[in-house]
């Protein structure tokens, strides 16, 4: 055991012990521990295996950048692979498993890859595995795929819930360290609406790991007091456990709150994660700085750790990372750790300071040996650090120890400032990339390159004042509380390469990118920072290069002999840390993926035994099986026959319905339909074709004139929303001078088709007015009184089925009752309910088209509607593109009917049409079957098809080709109207 729990100190709650397990081993920790600190406290320093070489790895950081200590936690549908042990709070019963090792973490066969590493250099796979060609998919790739990846995801669904939320504020503060707290306090006290987010379990940032005092109290206590004050302000919202993951246009930030990721069993009714979309007037990044590792041999051996992380484990969770430590630093911050280690009684062998001049005089008062102008060249050990080799003034020295803390300087955390494309700027003075303040967003504190608690506090307050000032909100910065015991670490010159390294010196720990890989990338011409990234995979692991990118840039700069400024960074992109699908999806999945839209006749259909089918957001009644009917076809055939012989009732409420009023309504319709509407008499309906501006048919439907200045339009179900948008476009953007007003009334009316020879007889029983053929002829449309004046409805004499038919619209709330009444009246006469399946058969028999035929590539003439296109009108939408050669050519696909030669044979929609005897090639395809069904009327399968020059091919024998199903049906093209071509039935 090397790491261990200190007997006192820390912010953990020793009164609340928690038990958990790692790789099945029971362990214990305390409330306030992270999984990583608890593992360390249990002496478990080996926490994972690397991606490629399966190197043993321990925890390197105490935060979001952790590349090594990734584990799988949870069980079943709650399994979470690749969880950062550093950010996972410990809870009672937590189960954690290590990843990417076999058979065990301790003994991992994959580690043999390390021996092959000369042959597994960056990009080696692009150069081999090509022969024999067939081996790639059979052998090489499956092997590579098995080896790749880290954790294993569960295949079960998640039992917990997720949600989303919007929030608005004047000032969003991201990061709740000294800087962020100062900003939030300043803005909050001024009455501004503030949101303060921090990814940690508790607000305070590095204050929670700090031993300095602020305003006379320990830093952590100061943070807690500040938090309490903020939480008491009604205009401030504090969100701990919340990571701002992305900055989007309009200063909208995405953030994810881990609401219940720190509990064993989430409470039902509350989400486990919540996605916040924060609309920020102004935002302040107080996200701190990331400490940079140093690139020496064996820098990945468990026991090597970032100095700041070591401080955090020591001070915040009272864990000593090792028994015998050394510190390798390029700056003064290492001395803060030295002081704290000694205060905690951890042996400190040496401080290896790369600077010739060492630390500022008087900064360090401890006992450790100080080696200036010295470098750690190599670390040694297998699964645990055992020694380091130091190079100093040409000599080397080996120190035996079990812990090494490193600090290679700091990289401000500027990700969010760069998500909208802003490029960071290299600062030689800071030895780091900095982001500039932009409209809507500023950076402060360590995120802006500052060091020192007092300076950060002051900057946070000052920037908050400035940002609020831009919004016209007055605030004052107040005075900075006195800070004592802070070791301020001014920026120092970065140390990129260390000479004489023997072992592997890692840059990207998780992806196992080491120094030689970068050198190879440069040698092979992949020296551009983006190419080097892609060729070596540096920065592409789950930590997205938080620790590795700047070191890689520094090394590339050295190799290319240019400055880091010239190399530049790769692109910062969301997500700052990875975000779950669950959080991004919220509650929209499973049955709740999309809302349900319900017809007012849904209840009626259900009572009548309907089978439903999803159509867009609607559930439509598809057919109504009766006892004894075993297949859907039996029911549909019966429904079709009943309509043709007696009558049927069908729910057509989901057709789009648009009310059009205003004195120019008729003129407007004349412009949006290709056929004429201005002359439509009051009381009449007309079928209309609506084109797109490019001349192709957009939608069809009937429109009725209810009054001089009032029309009622129906659209297809699928295009209802689109047609209204389109009409509004025409009315508002094209012809605002017209007085035309549009309202969707789809939901206002329950609409039912009553079709069949007995339709009138049945309907007349509830309609007060005379609806005889004379009084109410085909295409009549009028308001009617129902049930002796009890209700007002609208009646349209239109027919999709080819039978005598009506569509009756009644106020939706009465729909079910009216349908019930009609069923009751009609039943003795043979009336049945019919669904969309029968509706479809009826319309195919009649040769009526739907969006199967109106597929966005047909013009009116293709469907036999050529004569509907008004030649008289000077203008209508689509008129001006119709004359193009390709739209008038004789060999266009045109609507035809198709039947099998053998009535017993059948075919399906989607089959292609080939000329009889033609070879089965795509060039020979004449078209396809767009709709098909079994027609009880014809006594065989029938279809509608779009076939080249189809209208002149009636009678031609063809092959109906469906290779996909192995069905090849000889057939004949014919007129698309299979029933009552003279339309006699419509007019009785």
């Amino acid at each position: 055991m090397t790491s261990y729990r200190l007997s006192q100190g820390g912010l953990i709650d020793r009164a609340r012990p928690l038990s958990f397990s790692f790789d099945g081993k029971p362990m214990s920790g305390f409330a306030g521990d992270s999984l990583a600190s608890a593992l360390l406290a249990n002496g478990q320093r080996l926490m994972g295996r690397s991606f490629k070489y399966h190197r043993p790895r321990g925890v390197l950081t105490a935060g979001a950048a952790e590349p090594n200590a990734l584990m799988t936690i949870g069980k079943g549908g709650r399994t979470e692979p690749n969880t950062r042990a550093t950010l996972q709070e410990l809870y009672d019963g937590l189960t954690a498993r290590s990843q990417n090792r076999w058979p065990s973490l301790d003994f991992d066969i994959g580690a043999l890859n390390g021996l092959l590493s000369p042959f597994l250099s960056a990009g080696f796979y692009y150069k081999t595995f090509m022969w024999p060609a067939a081996f790639w998919e059979k052998l090489y790739e499956p092997f590579i795929r098995k080896a790749a990846g880290l954790g294993e995801a569960a295949k079960e669904s998640d039992p917990d819930s997720f949600e989303k939320c919007w929030a608005h504020c004047d000032l969003l503060v991201i990061g709740a360290g000294a800087t962020g707290l100062a900003a939030a306090l300043t803005a909050g006290r001024a009455g501004a609406r503030v949101i303060l987010v921090d990814e940690q379990a508790e607000l305070g940032g590095s204050l929670l790991s700090e031993t300095a005092t602020i305003g006379g109290v320990p830093a952590a206590q100061f943070a807690r007091e500040a938090t309490a004050e903020l939480e008491a302000l009604p205009n401030v919202r504090t969100l701990a456990r919340t990571t701002a993951f992305g900055r989007y246009d309009g200063n909208v930030f995405g953030a994810v709150e881990r609401v219940q990721k720190h509990v064993a069993t989430p409470q039902v009714g509350r989400p486990v994660e919540r996605l916040w979309r924060i609309v920020a007037g102004r935002a302040l990044l107080a996200t701190g700085a990331e400490e940079r590792p140093l690139v020496f041999g064996g820098n990945d051996i468990p026991g090597v750790m970032m100095a700041g992380a070591a401080r955090s484990y020591l001070n915040r969770t009272a864990v000593a990372p090792a028994r015998q430590m050394a510190i390798f630093t390029t700056n003064d911050s290492g001395y803060a750790l030295a002081r704290d280690l000694e205060a905690c009684g951890v042996a400190l062998t040496a401080i290896i300071d790369s600077r010739p001049e060492g630390a500022a005089p008087g900064l360090y008062k401890g006992q450790a040996r100080i080696l200036t102008d010295a470098l750690v060249r190599d670390a040694h050990g297998g699964k645990s650090l055992s020694a380091i080799t130091i190079a100093r003034q040409g000599r080397t020295e080996t120190l035996r120890l079990d812990g090494l803390a490193v600090s290679g300087g700091f990289s401000p955390v500027i990700h969010l400032a760069c998500h909208r494309g802003d490029k960071p700027v290299w600062s030689d003075a800071q030895g780091a990339f900095l982001a500039e303040d932009r409209k809507g967003l500023a950076l402060a504190g360590a995120a802006a390159g500052l060091s020192g608690l007092a300076a950060c506090y002051e900057a946070g307050a000052r920037k908050a004042v400035a940002l609020l000032d831009q919004l016209g909100i007055a605030a004052t910065a107040g005075s900075v509380p006195t800070v004592e015991g802070d070791i301020v670490a001014p920026a120092t010159k970065p140390l990129w390469s260390i000479p004489g390294i023997r072992g592997k010196a890692f840059i990207d720990f998780q992806n196992d990118v080491h120094r030689a890989d970068l050198a190879l990338a440069v040698r092979e011409g992949y020296a551009h920072v983006e190419l080097a990234k892609r060729y070596t995979t540096n920065g592409m692991a789950t930590d997205q290069g938080k620790l590795s990118n700047v070191n890689a840039i520094g090394l590339l700069a050295e190799a290319r002999g240019v400055s880091p400024a010239e190399v530049g960074t790769t692109t910062f992109r969301p997500f700052y840390t990875p975000v779950s699908f669950g959080a991004l999806a919220g509650s929209s999945h499973g049955k709740h993926f999309q809302p349900v839209r319900q017809s007012p006749l849904h209840g009626w259909a259900k009572k009548n035994g309907a089978r439903f089918v999803e159509t867009g957001l609607w559930y439509r009644s598809a057919w109504f099986p009766r006892t004894g009917e075993t297949t859907w076809r039996e029911s549909v055939d019966r429904e079709v026959r009943t309509v043709r012989e007696a009558a049927g009732l069908c729910d057509v409420s989901m057709l789009g319905k648009i009310e059009i009023t205003g004195k120019d309504a008729a003129l407007f319709l004349d412009r949006v339909y290709c056929n004429g509407f201005a002359n439509l008499p009051v009381g009449k309906a007309r079928y209309g074709l609506m084109l797109r501006e490019d001349g192709f048919i957009y939608d069809d439907g009937t429109t009725s004139r209810l009054a001089e200045d009032r029309f009622f339009m129906t659209t297809t179900t699928a295009y209802a929303a689109g047609v209204l948008n389109h009409l509004e476009f025409c009315a508002q953007a094209l012809w605002p001078e017209l007085d035309v007003r549009l309202a969707s009334v789809t939901d206002q009316w329950a609409q039912m088709a009553i079709a069949g020879p007995l339709a009138r007889t049945i309907l007349q029983e509830i309609v007060d007015e005379d609806i005889s053929n004379e009084a109410f002829p085909f295409l009549g449309a009028r308001a009617v009184s129902l049930f002796n004046g009890a209700l007002k409805g609208r009646l349209f004499r239109i027919s999709f089925s080819g039978e005598l038919a009506y569509e009756l619209a009644v106020p939706a709330g009465y729909g079910e009752s009216v349908a019930d009444a009609l069923m009751e009246i009609g039943k003795p006469k043979g009336l049945c309910a019919y669904g969309v399946e029968a509706l479809s058969v009826l319309r195919i028999e009649k040769g009526h088209v739907t969006h199967n035929e109106i597929n966005g590539t047909v013009v009116p003439a293709d469907l036999g509607f050529g004569r509907m296109v008004s030649a008289k009108k000077a203008d209508f939408i689509g008129k001006h593109m119709l004359a193009r050669e390709g739209l008038t050519a004789g060999n266009r696909h045109q609507l035809v009917g198709v039947v099998p030669l053998d009535p017993a044979a059948s075919f399906r929609t989607g089959a292609h049409i080939l000329a009889k005897g033609a070879a089965a090639t795509l060039e020979n395809s004449l078209g396809h079957v767009s709709s098909s069904c079994y027609s009880p009327h014809v006594g065989s399968t029938i279809g509608l098809a779009l076939v080249r020059a189809g209208s002149s091919r009636h009678g031609e024998e063809v092959m109906i080709w469906n290779g996909l199903r192995g069905e090849y049906t000889p057939g004949r093209l014919c007129d698309p109207v299979f029933i009552d071509p003279e339309n006699a039935k419509l007019k009785i």
Partner: protein
């Protein structure tokens, strides 16, 4: 330098010091026979085939960024030839055939991996549309299978079959579809072209097109004027901007499409699956990340980055299709700018300017086309005749009314 297991072994033994640059970094020559604008997949493939198949080697590819900085380096790597229309299908099948021999051809492992592309359907109408499509494929000799629900379940038991808002009814499978390692395609073609004498000029942005008497003389670039006998545009999302330098206005808009990758996982899903009830498609890279995407953001953009609303839509559809995605974390999102043409299909054609050639309008589907696009564009440039499978990709088809509109959405690019 030939790549092989042996070369790896040899170099590995000597500290990997012997490798040479994959392509040279030449200075621009004053004049080339052909200058290709755009060092993406299409531009590089065009150069490669010009040199290899048509013997034209005095060629430069000018690229404003680094090789592969455009869409070839940011797409979701899906290849398939499941097209519907006669003007499209044979071309994409040609491309598939070229993929099938590509790596041996250019001696670079691009990980062409035919693990299958499955398009799910959730309604009879979708099934019928896939039947039509599958039959078009079959008629051209392309593999296609229509699977029912149980057959889909057998391959992908963890899709949401039981609690879905739009239950899965089946799917259209192209077994020969799959994925290819995107960057390797750019690098492989670059290396192959370079070996045959093509100059690849990175960090060289075309800023103007010099013309005289209706002919192009050459291009102004950030590295000076470069003359040419023929100028070929393959600038993907920036086609309108480059064409404008020659005074042409194109039937297209630039739109952003986002893509995503999850944290690395042990094998989770083998082939490519697309959701039919929303915008989502996913595959798993050989490195272990789930690579996925959805619909375009829907507004004109040159920004290479997208919107949170689209991110959410994609995740919603993803979890609706695969509930087990819930706890999987998304690592990174990015965007690419594509030219969305007015009918959703590409253009490979001459232009009204005599020696100016255009390859554009690939929308979100041009990666799979890379080999055939390069080959056919090279054919057109070298012979001044369209290659047969690409003969429908004409620039004047909009004006003449011969559209190639697979979706039937009409002249509104963001609907394709």
């Amino acid at each position: 330098m030939r790549y092989s297991a042996l070369s790896i072994l040899k170099n590995g033994l000597f500290g990997n010091k012997g490798w040479k640059p994959a392509w040279r970094t030449p200075a621009p020559k004053p004049h080339y026979d052909v200058v290709i604008v755009g060092g993406g997949g299409h531009g590089l493939a065009t150069a490669y085939y010009l040199a290899k198949e048509f013997g034209i080697t005095n060629v430069a590819v000018v690229e404003k960024g680094y090789v592969g900085s455009g869409n070839v380096g940011r797409n979701t790597t899906i290849i398939r030839s499941n097209y519907l229309l006669q003007g499209n299908n044979p071309f994409y099948e040609l491309s598939m055939k070229l993929w099938e021999g590509l790596e041996q051809d250019f001696n670079f492992n691009a990980m062409v991996s035919q693990r299958g592309v499955l398009n799910l359907y959730h309604s009879d109408a979708q099934r019928d549309a896939y039947t039509r499509r599958g039959n078009a494929m079959r008629l051209h000799g392309v593999d296609a299978d229509l699977l029912d629900r149980e057959a889909v379940r057998a391959i992908l038991p963890f899709l949401d079959f039981d609690n879905a808002r739009f239950p899965i009814q089946g799917g259209l499978l192209q077994k020969r579809g799959g994925t290819v390692r995107h960057d390797a395609v750019a690098w492989g073609y670059a290396r192959g072209a370079d070996l045959r004498g093509v100059d690849i000029l990175q960090n060289c942005e075309v800023t103007g097109i010099r013309q005289s008497q209706g002919r192009v003389l050459g291009v102004e670039t950030t590295r000076g004027f470069i003359g040419c006998n023929k100028l070929a545009l393959a600038a993907a999302g920036n086609s309108s901007r480059v064409a404008e330098m020659a005074g042409l206005k194109l039937p297209m808009e630039s739109h952003v499409l986002q893509a995503f990758v999850s944290e690395g996982l042990k094998p989770f899903i083998d082939g490519v699956v697309t959701f039919g009830a929303g915008h989502f498609y996913v595959s798993q890279s050989d490195k272990g990340g789930l690579v996925f995407g959805g619909d375009i953001d829907g507004y004109n953009s040159y920004a290479q980055r997208g919107n949170l609303a689209t991110v959410e839509h994609v995740a919603e559809a993803g979890k609706a299709m695969i509930p087990a995605l819930s706890r999987i974390r998304v690592l990174r999102s990015w965007g690419g700018v594509m030219d969305m043409s007015m009918d959703g299909s590409p253009i490979i054609d001459r232009t009204p300017i005599d020696n100016l050639y255009l390859n554009a309008g690939w929308c979100y589907g041009g990666f799979k086309a890379t080999p055939a696009s390069g080959f056919c564009f090279a054919h057109l440039i070298a012979r001044d005749l369209p290659q047969t499978t690409a003969s429908a990709f004409r620039l004047d088809r909009f004006e003449r009314g011969y559209l190639l509109d697979e979706k039937g959405q009409g002249a509104q690019p963001n609907l394709h």
